[in-house]
Amino acid sequence: MTDTVQSSLAETRAPAKVDLKTAVAKRLKARHAAEMRFRAYGVLAICVAVLFLGILLERIVHQGYTAFVTHSITTEVYLDPNRIDPTDIMGANYDQMITEQVMAKMGVAEDEYGTTSGEYKEILSPDLGFKALEALRDDPKLLGKKISLTSPIAANADLYYKGEISRDIVEADRNVSDQQMVWMDDLKTKGLVKGHFNTYLFTNTDSTQPELAGLLGAIMGSAMMLLVTAALAIPIGVGAALFLEEFAPKNRWTALIEVNINNLAAVPSIVYGLLGLAVFINWLGMPRSSPLVGGVVLALMALPTVIIATRSSLRAVPPSIREAALGIGASKTQAVFHHVLPLAMPGIMTGTIISLAHALGETAPLLMIGMISFVPGLPESVTSAASVLPVQIFIWENASERAFHERTAAAIIVLLVFMIVMNLAAILLRRRFERRW
């Protein structure tokens, strides 16, 4: 019976010659195996991506967290009238004076001043001298009095305290001599040197001295630049997107603008740097290294992204909303500004924040417009020279002092925190207002 059924079934299928039973059975197993494999690739890819991020963050935190702790020295300084000429307070060698006083306090033999004070001075920071001078300049009456000064210790000393310079290394290979190590231990045990949170990193501007170098200038510069960028990119970008998406007739010109904008979005950022250099600095004569130029260049760079993000969120607003408004007699402009734009706003904000965050981290074009120079002070206005966070990172990364390396990583952490906060804001905004049509 079974045989006849099988044969009759076989006959109904025109050219069937293979044994379908085994064919399907074989295939089914292989198909499920293929399914599992395919799935595994996906999991693997995700793991790789997450792993990379993990390593990246771990390495940076690992390198940078030490920079958030620093050591500073607090000492009484006698502003010795013998060594300071009241008529020329600038001319005195404060460093030498303070070093000698510290050495005296620590009981280093006086006869060694001449030979060892240079080495001892390397432990202390020149900041002590600056501070003494500053105090005297503010109040000349302090001359001959004792004042208490606190200042970060020299970078190498700091590294030593944090255990990053170990005694195991051959003396010649490290920046700290055995003698200095003894002194430093002494300073620490005497309580002159204390470890604490590195506020200098946030209150100081850039400096050639790693222990004095801070990010305040760069943060201010970045803030100013971002402000300029936002002020230009958002209105212009949203306006252009509105025009293209809502008002423009669909013709060759608007198609050209569209292609053009999509291209601009993918133009390498360094080309924007070249544009800024050639047009804003060389042709329009705007001030080099200024947040203004940087902001304008970044605004131009962010513009296409803002336009594209705006357009896509405008497009996500269903045409039925526009029709609805037009259908009850709203004008095109009213329909757009009363309904479409408000509905697209969360999307626009998300896109804008992300592109601003991107601009915040952008480095290459800023190098082109001369933002690589050393700027010790705070920028006074958008037209004065300034540094910005990413460039600061780049500069520090290139610096030779080892202490700058941890500060680079610390600066990166600061930058990343800003970026993550911005991105998170964007993500939250999207989650909060996400609307499915």
């Binding site: 198909r31 499920h32 293929a34 395919f38 799935r39 690739y41 996906g42 999991v43 995700i46 991506a49 997450v50 990379f52 990246l56 390495r59 390198q63 209105p235 212009i236 970008g237 306006g239 252009a240 509105l242 025009f243 008002f247 292609v259 053009n260 999509n262 601009l264 993918a266 133009v267 390498p268 950022s269 360094i270 080309v271 924007y272 070249l274 544009l275 250099l277 050639a278 047009v279 060389n282 004569g285 004008s331 402009t333 992300i354 965050a357 991107h358 981290g361 480095t363 290459a364 190098l367 990172i393 780049f394 990364e397 680079t408 990583a409 990166i412 970026m419 993550i420 991105n423 993500i427």
Partner: protein, 476 residues
């Protein structure tokens, strides 16, 4: 001063708005009709006419005032100054501007005839400046008043204020989109202009097909064949090599994560992994550069050195023992990591735009998920994905910071990933961040490279966008 004037203008415009609106209301009430436009539109109409013409004048003053002043001051150059070398003439006028406008002049000391000329010019500059400013201010005030008044008189219930205001809105929007065009024009013109100057000294053929790149040497005029140093082929090869390595990392990882996320992951997983990828995408390139230079570079070097130690004596072993931090592989891999979220989010979008109904259709026929993906979703998304890949390639080519920090400066014609190579973008950065004069072939070479870069990425983008657009039209 300009700032205050601007502020005053804004206040005036706000007042105009109020006046216009109330007038429209009163007129409509008096005539007992409903006006064509809401009163607010009349207000806007008056405000716009008060503001825009005046603001345009102010803006022109801000941008071109200084140039105009210069042109006037420099239109007649005193005889004493004419005798100065050309460079010093420029400096002279720079100092005049600095003194007149309250800046820091150079340390040059002018005396005698020059001193007189200098003082004269300073005085002239000051008067020109104040004249221009005064003129502009007066013009601004007049325009604001006249515009506002004129608009004010036109208000009536019959007046189509809304249409008029809306026209202004469109003008503003058009202006915004013109900025995008101007940007492109600016890029093309500035790159072309400077490149042309570069190609006056270096032949384009030598630049494009020359295999020797050493712009530093070319700096010195006494070197033989200064143009021989500008052969960019090694840069192109280096760029290509790094791009290739980057894509080898980014394409599979990015694509498969996108597939997994959009097809397999539970909503919960998506909610966690997507932000992770977004963070990866948000990390600035300078951070990747740091990562490459300080983490990946050394560990790769150690790895290869360790590997080399297993085959002592062989040339291979020798080579591996001597591998340096800065190699193409490091820059490529890190760039690949950077591109993973880029590739994955683009692919994710594209895979998601394949309608669910296609998946349902395939699943309902008894296909497994992976069969559905491989045979229906991916083929449908293929054009879009290849477009995305091209965009990633373009981004890899244009990426600067990673390669600047991790690839090296040595222009080598090699495809060995363990070798150090340099790229177009690295060279642009190095050429332009020195303290060179702005007219040397060395700095201009950067623009030549920039132009090449621009053209290549432009071509890639155009193709990619074409593909993606075609693809998206399919499912609209």
């Amino acid at each position: 001063m300009t700032g205050y004037l601007f502020l005053a203008l804004i206040v005036f415009s706000v007042a105009s708005f109020m006046f216009g609106r109330s007038l429209a209301r009163r007129k409509a009430a008096a005539q007992g009709v409903r006006a064509h436009s809401l009163p607010a539109f009349s207000g806007w109409f008056v405000a716009i006419w008060s503001f825009i013409p005046a603001a345009v004048v102010l803006l022109v003053l801000v941008i071109f005032g200084a140039r105009l002043e210069n042109a006037i001051v420099q239109s007649d150059v005193p005889a004493a100054v004419q005798q100065l070398p050309e460079l010093n003439q420029g400096l002279f006028f720079q100092d005049v501007r600095a003194i007149a406008n309250g800046g820091t002049p150079s340390t040059t000391v002018y005396d005698g005839e020059l001193k007189a000329a200098f003082d004269h010019k300073v005085a002239q500059a000051r008067s020109v400046d104040s004249t221009i400013n005064l003129g502009a201010y007066v013009l601004t005030a007049v325009l604001a008043l006249a515009g506002g008044l004129l608009a004010y008189t036109r208000i009536s219930p019959q007046f189509r204020a809304r249409n008029s205001v809306e026209r202004w809105v469109s003008v503003f929007l058009v202006a915004c989109s013109v900025v995008a065009i101007l940007t492109t024009l600016g890029i093309i013109l500035s790159l072309l202009w400077e490149s042309l100057r570069f190609f006056q000294s270096v032949s384009p053929l030598d630049f494009l097909f020359g295999t020797h790149w050493s712009p530093q040497i070319a700096m010195r005029a006494d070197q033989v064949g200064s143009s021989g140093g500008f052969g960019a082929v090694p840069l192109f090869i280096g760029t290509f090599l790094i791009m290739l390595i980057a894509m080898c990392v980014a394409a599979p990882v990015g694509l498969f994560s996108a597939i997994y996320l959009s097809e397999y992951a539970t909503p919960f997983m998506r909610a966690w992994i997507k932000p992770v990828l977004e963070i990866l995408a948000g990390v600035p390139t300078v951070v990747y550069g740091f990562f490459a230079a300080l983490v990946v570079g050394p560990s790769f070097r150690e790895f290869f050195n360790w590997l080399g130690a297993f085959m002592p004596g062989t040339p291979m072993g020798e080579y591996l023992m001597n591998v340096q931090n800065q190699m193409a592989l490091v820059a490529g891999v890190v760039m690949g990591i950077m591109l993973i979220p880029f590739v994955s989010s683009l692919s994710d979008d594209i895979i998601n735009s394949v309608p669910q109904s296609l998946r349902d259709g395939s699943l309902a026929m008894g296909a497994t998920r992976s069969e559905t993906i491989k045979k229906v979703v991916l083929p449908a998304a293929l054009p879009g994905i290849s477009g995305a890949m091209l965009l990633a390639v373009s981004r890899a080519i244009g990426e600067t910071m990673i390669v600047t920090m991790a690839a090296g400066l040595q222009a080598k014609t090699t495809l060995n990933p363990l070798d150090t190579v340099t790229t177009v973008t690295v060279q642009i950065v190095t050429l332009l961040t020195g303290d060179q004069e702005f007219d040397s072939p060395k700095t201009l070479a950067a623009f030549g490279l920039g132009l090449t870069l621009f053209i290549v990425t432009l071509a890639l983008n155009l193709i990619a966008q074409r593909i993606v657009q075609k693809y998206q039209e399919q499912y609209d």
